[in-house]
């Protein structure tokens, strides 16, 4: 085909296509640039700029409008004006002076310019000379250079001197000018200073929101795409944290980049309008529309962090540049959009809100989603591996109480018995450590010797079962094992049986046999009663002999002892009400369970007196219970307490004790066939079918019961099936042998030894999943099984009916009425039925009904007491309803805002959150359901699983709140140790505090002892406060008091408006520590009621100094708050009781009979003494009704506690130098003494000893070998023996005590022995220290500190020394 000039396509068309595609390309490019530039975060930054601008603008306006500022500006301007007017009058003078100054200045400047040139010339000459030296020039050449230099140098020198003169002249001229214009200049400078703040604010504002067109244009230009790459005001803010590495899930680690501040731009803004403030400049608050609210609160992400004192702030322990955000909050720090940052909603309501607003969805693929608010404390434990400091912190208070509570629950309930939480990788700390301590001394030694191991520290939480047969009978063991809460509803022991996955045929058949087998094993292996063990009575259990074997113990006295000997500090008992302590088990029905007769009684008696004899690792302390006289009768308190607990009637002897269970305890009957079936099943793992058959029934070559494997080849529990040798294989022996085996096997399976010490399980390992990295466990490795199906119809303890409280009804019945029966076939309840009891607990209203239901185990049978047609009937029902229904209802109620209490809203929100998580295979949901209904994951699984593969996790009595706390803790366990500098495991006093706090919690020290006194806040009329009168005190005493108890400022800076007379008045709030001495009398009119509170510290209020014992008396209406004491609940209770029972005449005397507050204990006692005292407390006080018990503390624990008290009060530990015992001190005071009393040379300590052994101290204290005389032990105040003071007390404290004991302990009976005397008063002890009371008081301290040395020198004192110079008493 020939070529033509024709176009293949019409050019016109082509032009159009080209044009269109060019336009399309242009449009696309523009769109791309727009889309690329239209980041989500820009919206937030613009809004942030707006808020910041508004804040600066309002601050600028406020600064300008401030009356003080206005006045200052006006004054300064007036001054300037006046000064200028004045200057105008002296116009010529000013002008000539100005000219003179200017010309002097010009001259000086010109001259300086020339000088600089000359200096340079001189430097050239010098350099030339130096070069000449380098080039080794000699003779003339060198001389020439030297000359050249000297010529220029002479010129420079001349000019320098001229310059100096010029400067002087200039200064003179300036001075003469400013002498005239000074006023004006000063005022102008002042005005500038006054406006600095405004100028700075305005400059800051100009950056965000410029006010000139040029700046605006410039700023907008910088925001344009591409150009914005060059320092645009809108940009991504990035915190680089090289030491906080971010693990990439097994693919190594990278540095952490947090871009959170791109949107959360004001997160670290401190409110700098207030000096040294740590409050946020943009406090968080929400309004309905999500915009800034009227009261200056800001929505997320524009709010400042709520605790800038703890986080992000420059002075906080977690400064922003070092910590960033994601190390605590998790999430994708690099993400710059809401979704990419991986925010996590706190509840379904928030989830829906976010889905609508931010297109949020649950992204399975983010391995590290942000912690939802409920788990915000989880990450703390990555670095705070000791956890304790998150709950008790002297500086910041409880900063993460929830995770600390979760940790505590795990500790208390002993989860670590089955689920180890390894805090160490070899010896490197990787997280909180919760592991059992070595089970045997041998194991402990082996671990201590291994440099790569750190021993666990936790004790087993349950009692030892090693001597169980001495305590209880088989029936009780079986009954307790089956369902512990049946006997003791408050028990912490979880339930292993009667749960979801045991209600099938197999479970019903096997469980009773398993229970019988456990019972049999425990009792069969229980160590024998070693009546005649001679030397090893500490190792082998042997009951203690009663102190008064012939007397009949009295339950009535026992009740009193139970109250006053500290038992109620840990245990509750129906008969002694008032304290609701749950540290130890509830004891109201302990009389139902022990062995009958002397057996049970002696067990209890021994347990009360020396608990570690039965259980060496018990936390129950040994209270010293010696024979004491009550109303003239010699009594054995431990026997009386035992009689009380066993409810012995008067005149009943211990041998008469019979357990009286509410329902008889029984060991389930064992069906031989079922027993054989179970034994065969377990043997199936180790033996062949024919071997098993032969073993059970006998075969050709083996007899029945002859185990087919040799003893030395048996590794496991089968060892129990071997013949022991002696016993003939009769039916009983055969059955027992199988039961023992099955028992051991079952204990192995359920891991009972995780909490209890059980014979033969010393080497056993915990059975559960280790939890140290559970917080990052892969979701795909969690066995959710058929949980969704289960939750459709189960999981909620509910009878499936709707109820209402019966109130205001004339009917004699109290209970809840069924209003809608629902699925009546299932529950059997009808509308109109009245439920009066659940599980034998009376139900009076709907709250009690719900509480009782929540306690039931889902799926188990509940006895429901119902009144129908006027007759009471009992139904056995299953409290099991759909959890999903509950959640759906909850979400609906939340939407409609129907919840009556905040607590119930939070609970239902939580449930919804967890169920949502469960439905999306989240870790929190799994954990929640596991703790609520551990066996529910076996739903429809048991049908196809071998019996022994069934889930074994028991059901703990946790509330949903508990589970929430535990989840917070467990989800924080990620075993990702931070870089060493981030780990918080301090030594020194901070470390001592942490370890001490832990022990205080473990041993319940704070039950008896107040560690911090109540904190009282009230609105004070400052004028009505009078300073403590110090004129009656030695100045040295006052100085010492201030040294040991530094003054604290009592004013808080807060105000409270209170009614004074008929008007309201705003008064400053004063805060202090003290004990309430007088409560308001409620029968008085309100305006006459008042508080009387005794101060315990040294306080400064409005410039007035108040010392301990100062009494604050203020109207009840002025009270702001009384914050309860930390600890000492028991002491307070005992004081009340002693006063009410008239055992103490006065409250202050009752306090002396009770456990003392440990207030400033560190300034008081010597640490080594405290260590010894904690290990083995001796009798100190004679006034107390109980003594410090001996705790089962290791040396390390006792040291840690002793150090704790010193650390709290900032005193050195563990050792203290007692200077008053050193020659340096004694020589010095000795010299002074010799100078003052030359005729008594060298007798300083002798005279001090005379002072101490005079007629005063002996009135109440045994001293110097003499015993104090006591007329009535019940009433007389007897002080501690003084031989204890030297090793026990710190000299400074002792001195303060001797000056004024009430300053230290306001309630004490100890008087000031030698108070300051007024002129003209009769001198005291004139023959000693010249009757100088101050010297005498100091000498008492020195005599006490040197007590033992002096006692050896002087010998025992037979009677009060009577120096010849004076008569007895010396007061005349």
């Amino acid at each position: 085909m020939p070529a033509t000039d024709d176009y293949l396509r019409s050019p016109k068309l082509m032009h159009r296509v080209f044009c269109a595609s060019a336009l399309l390309l242009l449009f696309t490019t523009a769109w791309m640039m727009y889309a690329d530039n239209n980041d989500e975060w820009r919206t937030y930054q613009r809004q942030a700029f707006k808020y910041q601008g508004e804040r600066i603008r309002s601050r600028e306006a406020a600064e300008k409008a401030a009356p003080e500022h206005k006045q200052n500006v006006a004054e300064l301007e007036a001054k300037i004006k006046a000064a200028e007017a004045e200057l105008a009058k002296r116009h010529d003078e000013v002008k000539s002076l100005t000219l003179a100054a200017k010309s002097a200045s010009d001259k000086s400047a010109n001259h300086l310019r020339d000088l600089k040139v000359q200096r340079a010339r001189r430097d050239v000459a010098r350099a030339n000379y130096n070069l000449a030296i380098r080039d080794n020039l000699q003779g003339d050449a060198l001389k020439r250079r030297t000359d050249e230099y000297e010529v220029v140098e002479a010129a420079v020198s001349k000019m320098e001197s001229d310059n100096a003169e010029n400067k002087l002249k200039l200064d003179d001229a300036k001075a003469s000018l400013s002498a005239v214009t000074g006023e004006r200049d000063k005022a102008q400078k002042g005005l500038k200073g006054e406006q600095t703040k405004i100028v700075l604010l305005h400059a800051a504002l100009n950056k965000i929101d410029p006010d000139t067109l040029l700046s605006k244009t410039k700023r907008n230009l910088m925001l344009l795409p591409v150009i914005d790459g060059f320092n645009s005001p809108e940009r991504i803010t990035q915190d680089w944290l090289p030491r906080l590495e971010f693990p990439l899930g097994g693919m190594g680690v990278v540095s952490r980049f947090d871009r959170c501040r791109t949107c959360h731009s004001m997160i670290d803004s401190v409110d700098d309008t207030v000096k040294a403030s740590v409050a946020g400049a943009f406090p968080h608050g929400l309004s309905k529309d999500g915009k800034q609210t009227a009261d200056g609160k800001f929505p997320h992400p524009f709010a400042s962090h709520p605790r800038l004192d703890v986080y992000l702030g420059a002075t906080s322990p977690h400064p922003l540049p070092k910590f960033g955000c994601t190390v605590c909050h998790e999430g994708q720090g690099a993400g710059t959009s809401f979704q990419n940052a991986s925010h996590t909603p706190n509840d379904p309501a928030q989830m829906h809100e976010w889905a609508d607003e931010h297109k949020w969805f649950d992204n399975h693929f983010w391995e590290r989603p942000m912690n939802p608010k409920r788990f915000e404390e989880s990450s703390c434990i990555k670095c705070h591996v000791n956890v304790t400091e998150l709950a008790v912190n002297p500086k910041f208070g409880p900063t993460a109480p929830k995770v600390a509570r979760g940790h505590r629950l795990v500790e208390t309930y002993g989860c670590f018995g089955c689920h180890e939480i390894q805090g160490f990788e070899a010896t490197k700390i990787i997280g909180p450590d919760l592991r059992l301590e070595p089970n045997t001394p041998e194991e402990a030694v082996a671990i201590a010797a291994d440099p790569n191991q750190v021993a666990g520290k936790m004790r087993k939480v349950g009692p030892s079962l090693r001597h169980l047969a001495l305590k209880v009978d088989a029936g009780f063991v079986a009954s307790w094992t089956e369902e512990p809460k049946r006997f003791r509803p408050t028990t912490r022991m979880p339930q292993f049986f009667k749960l979801d996955n045991q209600s099938d045929v197999h479970g019903q058949k096997f469980n009773p046999v398993e229970i019988a087998a456990i019972t049999h094993y425990l009792l069969a292996k229980s160590t024998e009663f070693q009546q005649n063990a001679a030397n090893d009575d500490q190792l082998a259990y042997k009951p203690l002999a009663r102190l008064l074997p012939d007397s009949i113990p009295s339950a009535e006295r026992g009740k009193e002892f139970f109250a006053t000997k500290g038992c109620v500090n840990c245990h509750t008992h129906d008969a002694v009400k008032g304290l609701d302590m749950t540290f130890g088990p509830e004891l109201s029905n302990v009389h139902e369970k022990l062995k009958a007769g002397d057996f049970g009684f002696d067990w209890l008696y021994t347990w009360v007196r020396e608990p570690s004899r039965y259980h060496p690792r018990t936390r129950m302390p040994a209270q010293p219970l010696e024979v004491e006289k009550v109303d003239g009768v010699e009594t054995d308190p431990a026997a009386d307490i035992a009689a009380f607990l066993l409810k012995l009637k008067p005149e009943e002897k211990p041998a008469d004790y019979r357990p009286m269970p509410a329902t008889p305890f029984e060991v389930p009957a064992v069906d031989d066939a079922v027993l054989d079936e179970l034994v065969s099943h377990f043997l199936g793992k180790v033996l062949t079918k024919s071997q098993i058959e032969g073993f059970i029934k006998g075969s050709d070559d083996k007899n029945k019961g002859e185990y087919p494997v040799l003893a030395d080849r048996i590794k496991g529990d089968e060892i129990e099936l071997l013949a022991t040798g002696q016993a003939e294989l009769d039916d009983t022996e055969w059955k027992n042998r199988k039961l023992t085996y099955l028992g051991r096997k079952t204990i192995t399976r359920y891991g009972c030894y995780g909490c209890h010490d059980i014979p033969n399980f010393e080497q056993a390992r915990p059975i559960g999943t280790a939890l140290q990295d559970w917080g990052k466990k892969d979701r795909s490795r969690l066995a959710f099984e058929h949980i969704h199906e289960y939750l459709h119809h189960h999981g909620e303890p509910n009878l499936g009916v709707k109820v209402e409280s019966l109130t205001g009804n004339a009917a004699s019945v109290t209970g809840v009425r069924v209003t809608k029966a629902g699925d009546s076939n299932k529950s059997g309840l009808k509308t109109g039925d009245v439920i009066v009891s659940l599980d034998k607990t009376p139900v009076l209203d709907i709250e009690q009904y719900e509480a009782a239901l929540a306690r039931t185990v889902v799926g188990s049978h509940v006895a429901v007491g119902v009144i129908r047609d006027g007759h009471e009937q009992t139904f056995t029902l299953t409290a099991d309803a759909s959890l999903l229904d509950r959640v759906e209802v909850g979400i609906g109620r939340a939407k409609r805002d129907e919840f009556k209490t905040e607590a119930s809203r939070v609970r239902e929100d939580s449930a919804a959150f967890y169920v949502e998580s469960l439905l999306h295979h989240g870790r929190p949901g799994f954990l929640w359901q596991k703790l609520r209904q551990p066996r529910s994951y076996d739903f429809k699984m048991i049908e196809t699983k071998p019996y022994d593969d069934r889930l074994r996790m028991p059901k703990f009595p946790f509330s949903e709140e508990d589970i929430d706390d535990i989840a917070t803790f467990v989800l924080g366990l990620v075993a990702e140790p931070p870089a060493a500098e981030y780990l918080y495991n301090p030594s020194g006093s901070a470390g001592a505090r942490i370890r001490g706090e832990k022990l205080i919690e473990q041993f319940n020290c704070s039950g008896c002892h107040m560690l911090e006194l109540p904190k009282i806040r009230y609105a004070a009329d400052l004028g009505g406060i009078t300073a403590t009168d110090t004129s009656i005190e030695y100045p040295e005493a006052v100085a010492l008091l201030k040294k040991l108890r530094p003054m604290r400022d009592g004013t808080t800076g807060e105000m409270k408006s209170v009614k004074v007379g008929d008007s309201m008045k705003s008064l400053p709030i004063v805060q202090f520590h003290g004990l309430v001495a007088g409560e308001p009398e409620v029968d008085l009119p309100l305006d006459e009621q008042e508080y009387v509170v005794e101060l315990w510290e040294t306080l400064r209020v409005a410039g007035k100094e108040l010392f301990p014992t100062y009494k604050f008396i203020f109207p009840a209406t002025s009270l702001d708050k009384i914050e309860a004491a930390r600890g000492g609940k028991y002491a307070e209770w005992l004081v009340e009781r002693l006063v009410n029972n008239k055992k103490a005449k006065e409250k202050s005397l009752a306090w002396q009979m009770s456990p003392p507050p440990l207030y400033k204990e560190g300034t008081k006692v010597q640490t080594p003494w405290l260590f010894n005292f904690l290990k083995n407390p001796g009798k100190l006080r004679h006034t107390t009704v109980l003594r410090m018990p001996r705790f089962n503390l290791s040396d390390e624990e006792a040291q840690a506690l002793a150090n704790y008290f010193a650390a709290v009060d900032g005193t050195p530990f563990p050792y203290q130098l007692i200077e008053e015992r050193e020659p340096a001190y004694l020589n010095e005071v000795g010299d002074d003494f010799d100078k003052a009393y030359p005729d008594k040379k060298g007798q300083y300590l002798h005279d001090s000893w005379q002072m101490l052994n005079g007629d005063l101290c002996i009135k109440c204290h045994s001293v110097g070998g003499r015993q104090v005389v006591i007329s009535d032990p019940a009433k007389d105040i007897r002080g501690p023996n003084l031989d204890l003071s030297a090793e026990r007390l710190k000299p400074d404290w002792l001195q303060l005590w001797l000056f004024n004991p009430k300053w230290v302990t306001p309630y004490t009976s100890m008087p000031s022995p030698l108070p300051k005397q007024k002129a003209g008063e009769t001198p005291r002890y004139p023959q000693l220290f010249g009757a100088d009371g101050l010297k005498q008081t100091v000498s008492l301290r020195d005599a006490l500190v040197n007590y033992h040395k002096q006692l050896e020198r002087e010998g025992k004192t037979a009677e009060a020394p009577k120096p010849a110079a004076a008569t007895a008493g010396g007061g005349q």
Binding site: V1092, D1276, S1309, M1310
Partner: protein, 295 residues
């Protein structure tokens, strides 16, 4: 001369001045150093006018401006007797002579009586009869001279006493052994001081706050020693004497509510209403049944 005159006036003032206008200051009215049990200080009244109530609360103003003679209704004296109703066997002594274990040479010199209930001819001793608050219109003079509180043979004397706020109490010791005098007040700070043997100069004890009820005073060295103190910010109080009699002077006419308190029965009467007429009044008999004292 002038000072002598003043003294003369003051000497007789006890009877005269209190009923009349006294332009001199109140010092003249105070009784000399007394043992305290029934110590009375003279009181003046302002005419019952509108500002009387306000003035009453401010003694300094009253003292400075001078007072009008008598309250409109006049003042009266309350006399009475506290009677123990029931059979009474004198309580056995706490210790017989020589029986005290502590400091026997001093405390054993005499028997230590049990003073918790003392009845003589049917009259109950050591009962506090007092007004809770200053009655309207009464202007209270400052507290008078110190009162004495002694310890003798390990017994406090007096056993029960009222004193005024800011009035010094001299705590003395007549024994050859030290005592520590320890008070247990509610609103005042506790006082606990060693009083040296045979200290006749005494230690000063001053209460800064009025109390609502009498409180105990003890000695921790000799635990049986007890006494009761009641500091008040007015003088309208008395302690019944050994025969149960008491007298309260200068009460403004009108109804008053007295509190009656005894150590064994504590608050025996919360509000004993007595109508006071000017001048002398009929004797009041306060009957305290034995049951109220735990007998």
């Amino acid at each position: 001369m002038r000072s002598q005159m003043t003294r003369l006036v003051q000497k007789n003032a006890g009877a005269v001045a209190c009923a009349f206008v006294t332009l001199t200051l109140v010092v003249g009215c105070s009784a000399p150093l007394s043992s305290g049990a029934n110590s009375q200080t003279t009181v003046k009244y302002r005419a019952a006018s509108k500002d009387a109530v306000a003035a009453a609360t401010d003694t300094s103003v009253a003292a400075a401006t001078g007072d009008v003679a008598v309250s409109e209704g006049g003042v009266g004296t309350l006399k009475g007797r506290v009677e123990f109703v029931g059979d009474f066997a004198p309580l056995p002594p706490l210790f017989v002579k020589g029986g005290a274990a502590k400091d026997p040479s001093v405390c054993g010199a005499e028997a230590i009586p049990n003073e918790s209930i003392l009845v003589k001819d049917g009259g109950l001793a050591n009962v506090f009869i007092y007004l809770d608050k200053i009655p309207k219109g009464a202007v209270v003079p400052p507290a008078g001279d110190p009162v004495l509180f002694d310890q003798k043979v390990c017994i406090f004397t007096p056993h029960a006493m009222v004193m005024r706020v800011k009035q010094a109490v001299k705590v003395l010791n007549a024994d050859g052994a030290a005592h520590n005098t320890h008070t247990y007040p509610k609103k005042n700070s506790a006082f606990n001081s060693v009083v040296q043997p045979n200290d006749r100069g005494g230690v000063d004890l001053v209460y800064g706050q009025a109390e609502k009820e009498p409180f105990q005073v003890g000695c921790d060295i000799h635990s049986w020693m007890t006494a009761y103190h009641l500091p008040l910010d007015h003088p309208f109080a008395a302690v019944s004497a050994a025969d149960g009699t008491f007298e309260i002077k200068d009460l403004p006419a009108g109804k008053h509510e007295f509190k009656v308190w005894h150590e064994a029965g504590k608050m025996v009467e919360k509000a004993l209403v007595v109508e006071i007429k000017p001048g002398d009044n009929n004797e009041v008999s306060i009957k305290v049944p034995a049951s109220k004292l735990g007998k």
